[in-house]
Subunit: 255 residues, 2 copies
DNA sequence: CTCTTAATATCGGAC
DNA sequence: GTCCGATGTTAAGAG
């Protein structure tokens, strides 16, 4: 690892540090007054102001304002980043990122560069994640009777239908088919829609088929929509974030 | 504007620069070897490695690896960021971000800080965006006959129904009601679902009601779903990104 | 390549 | 505060 930092660099230095850095696999951060232009799926213009610009060797370009989680403008990984120092030292260096599919570009005019930093970062470990929907699927599959209802049996996981993929195809104690859609967070109207799409398909041939939306919680509107369409909401309290967490965070609290 | 940078700072300096900086409205960037722990809506652990950590005064915390558009871990704006220098200079300073609703936290153990930078950024201008769905709505509303079909008339925009908001409620040349759902990008199965949700509602009382999904393009599966449900796809080629852009980017190209 | 779905989605607007 | 829908969503996984 090394970090090399250049304060108030001229255009040629900016171009060199960014160009060499990205080519050699470093992350380059720039603190600068800049102007940004974007065109592609949408389009936009951001007038002059102070921003943090991050360039990654995979082609990622991020322009961050002093507030907000999301960059105001960006280019996802896979883009080509070029830097043009301009014709004279008076010119603002230009960062230009481009990609195809979709065809779009981003231009960052670096009008006043306060600082450029080259970070030769080594980061090889894998991120370990807990609490995905896949985990919830495993939980249901391992013990469907306690997760969903007595007597239920999973017939198929991720079944492909004419209209998309459903999470579980099951059978209840009476042998009636059950379509199960699982959400790890509060289920929304769109999730109800998704389940209904599969239901409409199966009900054509068998009006008895049941539909279950499984989630830690949902809104009243969704519950009514389910009821009106003879479908069911199954609450999986074990996966409710608010409930689950309160206890854990108390133990590990910090002040 | 000012940028102040500290190379290889000790724990006390890290704590001071981050604490003072955030309190006084600056953006603080840290290049460091660190370890990250997250728990909340999901949970995760990221072992030691070199990352760029960005702290914003609104409570945003971002941990960026050397590749990828999205931060590997983060806390959205509104969180409280604290920094603990540890008990001795040997200890790793700890960045701790927390928020409620949902209740979650992020811990960044800064095991080896290569550089800390405080950026007192001034950024007041507004971002100007083009090509939003709202623009597409205006386009349709201003001339529904050329956008959708001859004789059609918009009755209501953003009508609230029992199951949500629909984009346009219209009437065709014969006076038949038309439910219109607009997407500025390629329409997906979920968008079909959304339209169908409204359709089901209106068809109960009037089986003649028509449904239109308006978008620059869509997949065959969506087209079939629409056909099977007696709904229509209206292609708005004017908003097709791939088509529109080819010409523009040629003019403004850069190499 | 496209299509389909998940995501710690985030964000903003309406109520 | 909750709910609802747009987003330049991005990213992963299957075909």
């Amino acid at each position: 690892m090394t970090v090399e930092r250049f304060a108030a660099p001229d255009a040629a230095t900016v171009a060199r540090v960014v160009g060499d850095g990205l080519r050699e696999g470093a992350v380059v951060s720039i603190e600068a007054e800049c102007e940004v232009e974007y065109d592609g799926r949408s389009g936009g213009y951001l007038g002059p102001g102070d921003r943090l610009v991050v360039c990654k060797p995979d082609g990622t370009l991020l322009v961050h304002r002093p507030s907000g989680h999301k960059p105001v403008n960006w280019m996802p990984g896979g883009a080509t980043i070029k830097v043009d120092p301009g014709e004279s030292d008076e010119d603002a260096p230009l960062l230009y990122a481009r990609r195809s599919n979709p065809n779009e570009f981003l231009r960052v005019y670096l009008q006043d560069v306060y600082s450029v930093s080259r970070f030769d970062a080594t980061d090889a470990v894998e991120y370990q994640e807990r609490g995905t929907e896949a985990e919830m699927h495993e939980y249901i599959e391992s013990d469907p009777e306690s997760a969903l209802e007595a007597g239920i049996r999973i017939v198929e996981h991720e079944r492909e239908t004419q209209y998309g993929y459903l999470d579980f195809f099951a059978q209840d104690a009476d042998g009636t088919p059950v379509v199960v859609e699982v959400k790890r967070r509060q289920a929304t109207l769109n999730h109800f829609d998704q389940l209904k799409r599969y239901m409409d398909l199966y009900r054509e041939s068998n009006p008895e088929v049941r539909g279950m939306l499984v989630a830690p919680s949902t809104s009243d509107r969704v519950k009514r929509a389910l009821r009106d369409n003879d479908m069911e909401f199954v609450r999986l309290a074990e996966f409710d974030v608010e409930t689950r967490e309160a206890s854990e965070t108390t133990l590990t609290d910090f002040s």
